[in-house]
């Protein structure tokens, strides 16, 4: 058994690493859910089924019975149908020629319900699409038109209420159309609309205009902010420095105390120094000098590195002493993210995101895998150092006689030398006895 404080520290470190991984896994799974849902067939909104169930959201009208329209409804349908047919005739005459060539655009949900049609649905000509569609599938076309005909062509994202009203309106003509063209009814009857998949029709999507406007305004504001950041007005900067000085002189805390943040920053810098120095030392020690000049340079480098190591140690000792005699102010809020030594340092954050261009799935996967690998290696190295600090003293201090020592050795070897991946075997050599 490991001593209590050692156990606590080790378990805390490992648990911290486990938690960080769990968090990242959660984020990934959320993202995966969204992506998978996007790649499947998109569900039509609400309950766009052909069998008209009673719509629970509406309380304006009684739920329409299945296929028995009331006479009033039929009359309304007649009027509506006539109006639409007239509109179709007018529109068809005007724009028949250019229609086929227009790129299909997805402006509202209606395309989900009639994906088979390639009719464009510009808001200004609701009847046009209806006219087109009426050649092929009158019911679907009519449904499509009722949405823009609602009189809100700019409304790119209709609310639920609109949809259901449109739904009611759409369902009404259906039996009417069925009455009109009896032979169409069977084909129009419960035929689930072709599902919309990104794969087949993704390139038909268009972002709604309101969103485009908002997004471009947003990004230009961020750009303005970035440019303002870099060219901070002189008087503002001067005023700020002056204010900070004034507050310092007017305050009682005369000696600036080392804040935990500063201690952390200095420790980080020295940690980076340590790893860089160590690497360099390795290089120099393993290099085989060819001639006396190289040998001399090697020697000088090593001596220089020795001096630098000494300086770093001294700074660290000073830091430790300062921390010990006046305990650093409590840690800043939350745990500051442990900046990995691989990170280049605090560059100025640019407020507007730049682009990262990739050219294939393979490349993206490689990139992400490497990022993860570097992060995992960081974690591993940190854990390795912690384990070394905790376990090696135990192994050297423990008595070799007890059986628990062998367990400890085995575990220490596995954790420290194999990263926990493999375990060695210890055999008792009976021939000695």
């Amino acid at each position: 058994m490991l001593p209590a404080d050692c156990s606590r520290r080790l378990v805390a470190e490992l648990q911290g690493a486990l938690d960080a991984c769990a968090q990242r896994q959660l984020q990934l799974e959320q993202s995966l859910r969204v992506c998978r849902r996007l790649l499947q067939a998109w569900e039509p909104p609400g309950t766009w089924t052909w069998e008209p169930p009673p719509e629970p959201e509406t309380n304006e009208e009684d739920p329409l019975p299945a296929c028995t329209p009331s006479p009033q409804d039929l009359k309304e349908l007649e009027f509506l149908t006539q109006a639409l047919e007239k509109a179709v005739r007018v529109r068809r005459g005007i724009t028949k020629a250019g229609e086929r060539n227009k790129a299909p655009s997805l402006k509202s949900r209606s395309i989900v319900t009639s994906p088979g049609t390639t009719a464009s649905t510009p808001p200004q000509s609701p009847g046009q699409a209806g006219g087109h569609a009426s050649d092929t599938r009158p019911t679907k076309g009519l449904r499509q038109t009722t949405v823009p005909a609602k009189g809100r062509p700019e409304r790119q994202l209709p609310s639920v209420r609109d949809r259901t009203r449109a739904g009611i309106g759409a369902r009404a003509p259906r039996p009417g159309a069925g009455l009109r063209n009896q032979h169409m009814a069977p084909s129009a009857a419960p035929q689930a609309p072709e599902a919309f998949t990104l794969k087949e029709k993704g390139h038909l999507l268009r972002l709604p205009a309101a969103f485009r406007k908002a997004a471009s305004q947003n990004s230009s504001l961020w750009v303005q902010l970035s440019s303002m950041q870099t060219s901070d007005s002189m008087d503002a900067a001067a005023a700020k420095t002056q204010f900070l000085q004034n507050i310092q002189t007017a305050s009682g805390g005369s000696q600036p105390r080392l804040s935990a943040a500063e201690v952390e920053a200095e420790a980080r810098r020295l940690r980076k120094a340590c790893s860089l120095l160590r690497l360099r030392v390795r290089e120099e020690l393993s290099a085989a000098p060819m001639d006396w000049m190289q040998e001399y340079r090697c020697l000088l480098t090593l001596e220089g590195l020795q001096a630098m190591v000494g300086q770093c140690l001294q700074r660290l000792q000073e830091l430790r002493a300062a921390v010990a005699e006046r305990p650093p102010l409590p840690c800043p809020v939350g745990r500051p993210p442990r900046a990995s030594p691989s990170c280049g340092g605090r560059a100025e954050p640019t407020w507007s995101p730049q682009l990262l261009v990739y050219s294939s799935t393979q490349e993206l996967q490689t990139l992400a895998a490497l990022k993860l690998r570097v992060a995992v290696l960081d974690q591993q190295i940190h854990l390795e150092k912690v384990l070394m600090a905790e376990l090696l003293p135990l192994v050297s201090a423990a008595q070799p006689e007890g059986p628990s020592w062998l367990t400890l050795c085995r575990a220490a070897h596995s954790l420290l030398c194999e990263g926990g991946a493999r375990v060695l075997t210890i055999l008792r050599d009976e021939s000695v006895d």
Binding site: L205, Q229, E264, R278, Q317, L356, H413
Partner: protein, 424 residues
């Protein structure tokens, strides 16, 4: 409430200060009404609690949520004091303020201004809650696998544990790493597909295809409405921040007058009030680790240098002492100094020519063409590969060190055969 503003310096337009304060309050999340600021100058008690809450929002690293809102004012006040103290806030009066929000609004105003002077607070807060419209990937490794939320305290393992429990935890961690790798590969594949299928859709030619957020908005218009509203709110905040930046100088003049109304503080007594830290664990162990590493390195170097110096001196005695000899030696010295100086700058400089922090928007292009300010995946991959190699070398070296050490310790005991696991 119209208060006659005292203008200490010339050049401040009448009305510029109210604008500045109004812009400031609009640019901060749940910013207090502009009146609060004015009342705080006169140390009115009714402005106190709003300022405590604002400071709490600013200083808290956690994203705003219901959890934050439900924290009591006293707790918020205490945490604010602790946070300010840890950042090195010099004024002692703040530490002595009562935590019930009954007084001290002027001190709180000073604290807020201190934070505003030290860093771009409104921008940072905006960046925290920014609406990411694209699929983003961070380039720097700062928070790759760091836990952003303080971990819940674990009640178990308060006592001594068996080392096999540690081994088990390590195995669990390795499994989680593998899981992450496979999940991430899948996510990249799906993301790439979505980008591929929606190419040609985006109004911005530069981007070319939709992101997951944008596609999701089309699939789910209600969510899209929400996104749109959030986007518009963010744009309003951005405008407020820009207005604040333009009107700033006036604000600082005014703050100087506020500071002037406070009596200067007496120098501190020996003991400072201590605060409960927000998170109990302090990064003190880190220092120890570094010290130990450096000490080991120092030892190693001392041995090597001594050995080599002796060998060199012996060799040098054999060679001549001509002028070219000393010139060559001087040249070598200079080269080495330059190299080592460059090495030192690597860690001394806080910001090197590193790629920008912060997230980048992923864009798929068949030809991989990128503008000046854009990053290419291929380059990033190269950088990461070299980082990976570097880190692997470090890890291998550490493991080698442990192997030697353990062999030494275990070798002391005869009668045992150590069968190492098969090599990689």
């Amino acid at each position: 409430m119209r208060r006659r503003r005292v203008d200490p310096a010339a050049g401040a337009r009448a009305g510029a200060l109210p604008e500045a304060i109004a812009a400031l309050s609009r640019s901060l999340p749940s910013g207090p009404r502009p009146e609060i600021f004015r009342r705080a100058k006169f140390d009115r008690p009714e402005a106190t609690s709003a300022l405590w809450q604002l400071l709490f929002r600013v200083l808290s690293p956690l994203p705003a949520g219901n959890a934050l809102a439900s924290i009591a004012l006293e707790v918020q006040a205490r945490l604010v004091k602790s946070a300010l103290c840890s950042q090195g806030y010099p004024r002692l009066a703040l530490a002595q303020l009562p935590e019930d929000g009954s007084q001290g609004s002027r001190e709180l105003l000073l604290a807020l201004s201190w934070l505003l002077a030290r860093g771009p607070v409104p921008e940072q807060m905006l960046a925290q809650t920014r609406v990411p419209l694209g699929d983003e990937m961070t380039v720097c490794q700062c928070e790759a696998l760091a836990s952003l939320v303080p971990p819940a305290p674990h009640m178990e393992a308060e006592g001594p544990v068996d080392v096999r429990h540690v081994q088990w935890l390590m195995g669990k961690l390795r499994f989680r790493w593998r899981q992450l790798v496979s999940s991430q590969q899948e996510q990249c594949a799906l993301l790439s597909k979505i980008h591929l299928y929606t190419r040609g859709c985006h109004s911005d030619q530069n981007l070319g295809h939709l992101s997951v957020t944008e596609a999701e908005m089309l699939r789910d218009p209600e969510g899209g409405q929400k996104l749109l509203r959030t986007l518009e709110r963010e744009s309003r905040r951005l405008e407020a921040v820009l207005a604040w930046r333009r009107a700033e100088p006036v604000f600082w003049q005014w703050m100087d007058t506020v500071l002037g109304t406070c009596a200067p503080e007496a120098p501190a007594a020996a003991s400072q009030p201590t605060f409960l830290p927000w998170v109990p664990e302090c990064g003190d162990g880190e220092l120890e680790l570094v010290v130990r590493e450096l000490q080991t390195l120092e030892e190693e170097l001392r041995e090597a240098v001594e050995r080599r110096r002796v060998a060199w001196e012996a060799k040098a005695r054999g060679c001549g002492r001509g002028p070219e000899w000393s010139a060559a030696r001087r040249a070598s010295r200079e080269t080495v100094e330059k190299e080592l100086g460059a090495l030192q700058r690597c860690w001394e400089q806080e910001s090197g020519p590193a790629p920008a922090h912060g997230p980048h928007r992923l864009v798929r292009r068949e030809d991989g063409a990128a503008g000046d300010r854009d990053l290419r995946a291929a380059e990033l991959i190269r950088t990461l590969r070299s980082q990976e190699a570097c880190l692997e070398a470090v890890l291998r070296q550490l493991q080698g060190q442990c192997r030697q050490e353990l062999a030494r310790l275990a070798g002391a005991l005869p009668g045992l055969i150590w069968i190492l696991p098969p090599g990689r």
